[in-house]
Structure formats: structure tokens, C-alpha cells
């Protein structure tokens, strides 16, 4: 699977641009702030129906414009697949594949998967549990549409229940019957999501550890522990017992929205005890695990988006990635770098041929 052409109108800092890509390595070079990452984000949009960096669509419209459109011509096992994503202020977002519009955006997720490695990935380790849930949910959603649907339902029920709890506190009267309806859904969906997440982690951890071992030359033990209240056999009881607390705090305190994935190194929390280097190795391994699991389950390679990795990763980790490029483990790749010479040198040494694109303030020269 790869993208052949990309055209943008009014997207971020681009007024209008049209590009043709190689189905192997594409390098986007240019100064900081020129718009390299925005091109990667446009491809991310076409895959995940939203930005990887700013999920508020209206803020991705070029300043002074009223709409943006992103068009990509993909090829999936020899079949041409034109994808169009457009957003207009006041009208919202539409998403069309082969000129047919989706009834729900979620139907598209997973059809054209991408894996993005970007500088802000360190959030996955440093931030709270939400960042890790988002990371794993995005992967599972790409391989399992039912999971995504249930995840969306879960968050709707949760929002309604939380609003109801706030309302009851304001009015001074609680409607237990209404809560019960939300509870049944939240408990049922929690159990489903919990099962899916824990099954997924078992498969994922193996792929992840395999990469970590290769990168670190195999002398550190790393793991991912999935923690969830819904794993408890008494979950239903625990959930129901939390009702008084929920009413007092005016929010739902139990459920899979509290899940966490804990990263450890030698049995200790990675965030506190891992060195900078170990954390980076951990991240690259997570991303490679993401790539592998999609390739395994979808039967084709996702597009790899590498944002500024030569600046952020050290030579050993870059080498690991580049070895996979040389071995044709990857499919189509996009690399951004502020220093064109550095990228050219690395690719030349490994005899990797690539297309170069010079990005300069919203214009691109091939």
C-alpha cells in the first residue's frame, strides 16, 4: 500500500501544493517551520481521519482561508484508491473514498494504516495514562473496527453518565434508574474493551520485546503491564460499590477509562528509572511493534512517517531503522530533516535511493 499523489488546498501553511511520491523512500527537507511535518500530517489525516498533532480541525485551516482539502491517490494491492478529506468552517468534515462519502468517519480507520515516529512521542512515556491508552487504542482500532465502534460508544455513555451525575448534584435529586441504564452499558463495554486490550498486549509485547532486544543487544528486560479495574473478577461489584463516590465526585471513577499500560525496565518504572537512551529505545521498539502487528494482521505494510528522527535518535537506533530499510522490511517511507546533507549522507552510505523534496514556506520543489 502506498500513496502516489498528494494535493493540498488551504491546509496548515499550504495554499496549494501537489506532489508525486516514490513508493519507496521520500525525503522532505527544508528549514524548521517550512512545513515538512505538515505534509506528514496530511498523510496522517488521510489515514486516521484526523491530525496527529492538533485534533481540532478548524485550527488546521490555513490562516485567512475558510476550508481545507487533502486529496491522496493511494494504491492498495494494485487498486487505485482516491481519498478526499475536506473541512469547511460551519459545515464540518467530509471524507470520501472513490467519491463515496462515509456515513461514519470511523469506517475509514484501518483501511490505509500509517505508523508515525515523531519527536512528541516521548509523551507516551512521560505523560499520564491517557497518552498510553490513546497510543494503544489507535493501534487496536486500525486492526479491529468493532473495537473502535465500542470504544466510541463507551466514551459517549461515559460522557452522558458524567453529565447526569453533575446534573443530579445541581438539582439535589438522583435518578438511579437512569444511572442503571448507563451502568449496564459501561460495565458491558468495559469488560469487552478490557478483554481486547489484554489479548492485544500479549501479542504486541512479543513483537515489541524482539525489537528492544535487537536494539539494546539483549541485556535488559523490558515489559508492558496492562492494568485495569475491569480485569478484576469482581469488577461489576466494585463498579456498583463506587456509586456513592461517583455521586460525591460527580464523575465516574471506575471503568476502562482509568486503565493504564505500565512500562518497566528490569521490573522498575521506565519513566523514573530508564535513562534517556533506554526511553528512546523503548519508544522506537513500540513503534516498530506497531508496524509489525499491522503488517502481520493486515497482510500489507503500513506507510511509515519518520519525523525528524535523525535529530532525535542516536546513530545506533538510526542504524537499526536503516537496516530494515535496506532489507526492504518497510514499504513506503517519508523522512523529514532540516539538514538535507545529513540525510543524503546516511542514505548514500547505505546505497538507498530516494526522492528528495525541498520544502520552503508552503512551497515544495521536487
Amino acid at each position: 500500500m502506498h500513496i502516489e499523489k498528494l494535493s493540498l488546498f488551504g491546509f496548515k501553511n499550504y495554499e496549494e501544493v501537489a506532489l508525486t511520491f516514490s513508493n519507496e523512500v521520500n525525503c522532505l527537507v527544508g528549514e524548521n517551520g517550512s512545513g515538512k511535518t505538515n505534509l506528514l500530517d496530511a498523510i496522517h489525516y488521510l489515514s486516521m481521519t484526523r491530525s496527529a498533532f492538533n485534533t481540532i480541525d478548524s485550527q488546521n485551516v490555513k490562516f485567512g482561508e475558510e476550508f481545507f482539502s487533502i486529496r491522496g491517490d493511494f494504491r492498495l494491492s494494485e487498486k487505485a484508491l482516491p481519498v478526499l478529506c475536506s473541512y469547511q468552517e460551519g459545515k464540518g468534515k467530509t471524507f470520501k473514498v472513490n467519491k463515496k462519502e462515509y456515513a461514519r468517519l470511523s469506517e475509514h480507520v484501518g483501511k490505509l494504516p500509517v505508523v508515525l515516529i515523531a519527536p512528541n512521542d516521548t509523551d507516551i512515556i512521560r505523560d499520564g495514562s491517557e497518552a498510553r491508552r490513546k497510543f494503544f487504542d489507535a493501534i487496536i482500532s486500525q486492526i479491529d473496527a468493532e473495537y473502535l465502534d465500542n470504544l466510541i460508544s463507551y466514551s459517549k455513555y461515559l460522557k452522558q453518565r458524567n453529565s447526569a451525575l453533575k446534573r443530579f448534584a445541581n438539582v439535589g435529586r438522583t435518578d438511579y434508574e437512569l444511572l442503571k441504564i448507563y451502568d449496564e452499558h459501561i460495565i458491558g463495554l468495559s469488560l469487552y474493551i478490557n478483554q481486547r486490550r489484554s489479548d492485544f498486549i500479549i501479542d504486541f509485547e512479543k513483537l515489541f520485546q524482539n525489537h528492544y532486544d535487537k536494539l539494546s543487544e539483549g541485556n535488559e528486560k523490558v515489559s508492558i503491564h496492562y492494568r485495569s479495574e475491569a480485569s478484576d473478577s469482581d469488577f461489576k461489584e466494585l463498579y456498583n460499590n463506587a456509586l456513592r463516590k461517583d455521586l460525591a465526585l460527580e464523575r465516574t471513577t471506575m471503568g476502562v477509562h482509568k486503565d493504564d499500560f505500565r512500562f518497566t525496565i528490569e521490573g522498575k518504572p521506565l519513566k523514573k528509572f530508564g535513562s534517556q537512551g533506554q526511553q528512546k529505545t523503548f519508544l522506537v521498539s513500540l513503534k516498530m511493534g506497531h508496524f509489525d502487528i499491522i503488517r502481520e494482521l493486515k497482510g500489507f505494510k503500513p506507510i511509515l512517517l519518520l519525523d525528524d528522527i535523525f535529530d532525535k535518535l542516536d546513530s545506533r537506533r538510526i542504524q537499526h531503522l536503516m537496516e530494515r530499510v535496506v532489507n526492504h522490511d518497510f514499504g513506503q517511507i517519508f523522512i523529514t530533516d532540516a539538514r538535507e546533507e545529513r540525510t543524503r549522507t546516511i542514505l548514500n552510505e547505505l546505497k538507498i535511493s530516494a526522492n528528495f523534496y525541498r520544502v520552503n514556506r508552503g512551497t515544495v520543489i521536487q
Binding site: D149, K156, K159, Q160, A164, K166, R167, D175, L178, I181
Partner: protein, 204 residues
């Protein structure tokens, strides 16, 4: 936008508060009214005033009505043993247009959605329960005809709980493939639902 007159601005301000109407359309409508005869504008404002001051809601079904009791509730030809529960007046009109239903209605005035500030007590739910209770068995069936959204389903479910202690049959309108629709174009969820709630043929 700069308006040449304060009066125009005021009118545009009010008209653009209506759903689906922006400032530009509002301006067009205001200028149109000025161009036409004065009678037309007076007739419009009269109709709006009348609407606001004299509209009533049927004391039984809460549908919009000219009288204390609406035409449907008062009719002798309607089957008083069935009540169809709907969200608002538009749904009553839609179902009436099918000519397939001869029972009564109950207009809830919305669906339960705490996010939008609508709780059960904001809807005509107690009135429905009382209608069933006070009929002492005369109401035999309640049909739920609410939207197939999360909020619609929650409301239906809530009502079934409120009504389950009474001797009354509870049903919901069928969900599935539209008439004249082709299977391959139906979305997966609808198609799945229609298999689950399939209709059996009578053997005779």
C-alpha cells in the same frame, strides 16, 4: 457587517437567531419584507403573535393543539388502547402521513441527554406513566418510536423500566433495511440488527 440602519440590524439580529439562517439570509429576508406590501409583514407578525399566545399543548398527549385536547385524542375513530411514544410534533406528522397508525400518541418533547442538559424530569415522562396507570388496563400497548441513536435507545430503555410494573405490552418500531433498499448498500450495523430482529412468516 455594517448596516445602513439600526432597524435593519435589529431585524437581522432577530431573524438570524432562527435555526439554519445566517446573517446573509436574514438580511435578504428583511429586505424582501420591506420591498413587499406592508400587509404581508403585518400578516406575518400577526401569525407569529397568534402562534405564541394561543398555541396549546394537548393535556393528554402533549402534542401541539388549538384546543385543550387535540384532534387525535378527541377523535372517536382512534384506537384508545394503543399509545405511540415520539420525540416531537414532527414525528407525529410523519407517522400520520403513513396512514398506517390509528392509535394515540404521546409526545415526550425530546430524548434523555444529560450532556445537552435534558434529564428525565424535563420530558413528559411522568404524564405518560400516569396515562397508563390511570387507564386501569384500557391502554393495552405502548409503542416506542424514538430515533435509533444512543440517546433515543436510552430513553426507550428508561421508559420500559418505568412502565414494566403495569399490565401493558411494550414494543419498539422495527429497525432494518429500508423498503426498496438493496442489501449490499446497507451498513453493517443495520444489516446485523435486521437479522437479529427478523420477522417470522405465519404458517397457514
Amino acid at each position: 457587517m455594517e448596516y445602513p440602519s439600526k432597524l435593519i440590524e435589529q431585524a437581522v439580529e432577530e431573524i438570524s437567531k432562527l435555526p439554519g439562517i445566517g446573517k446573509k439570509t436574514a438580511l435578504r429576508l428583511a429586505l424582501y419584507l420591506l420591498k413587499e406590501s406592508e400587509d404581508q409583514t403585518l400578516a406575518l407578525s400577526h401569525a407569529l403573535n397568534e402562534l405564541r399566545q394561543n398555541i396549546r399543548y394537548c393535556k393528554y398527549c402533549h402534542n401541539i393543539s388549538d384546543d385543550e385536547i387535540c384532534n387525535i385524542c378527541v377523535s372517536h375513530r382512534r384506537d384508545k388502547s394503543i399509545i405511540c411514544v415520539v420525540e416531537d410534533t414532527r414525528d407525529v406528522m410523519a407517522i400520520e402521513n403513513t396512514s398506517q397508525y390509528t392509535g394515540l400518541y404521546h409526545v415526550l418533547g425530546g430524548v434523555i441527554s444529560p450532556i445537552e442538559g435534558v434529564g428525565p424530569s424535563d420530558l413528559n415522562i411522568d404524564a405518560l406513566v400516569n396515562r397508563v396507570k390511570d387507564s386501569h388496563g384500557a391502554v393495552k400497548e405502548v409503542i416506542f418510536a424514538l430515533s435509533s441513536t444512543m440517546e433515543g435507545d436510552t430513553t426507550t430503555f428508561y421508559l420500559t423500566k418505568k412502565l414494566k410494573e403495569y399490565e401493558v405490552k411494550l414494543s419498539t418500531i422495527a429497525r432494518g433495511i429500508p423498503i426498496g433498499g438493496e442489501l449490499e448498500y446497507a451498513d453493517e450495523i443495520t444489516l446485523g440488527r435486521s437479522i437479529l430482529s427478523r420477522t417470522a412468516y405465519a404458517k397457514d
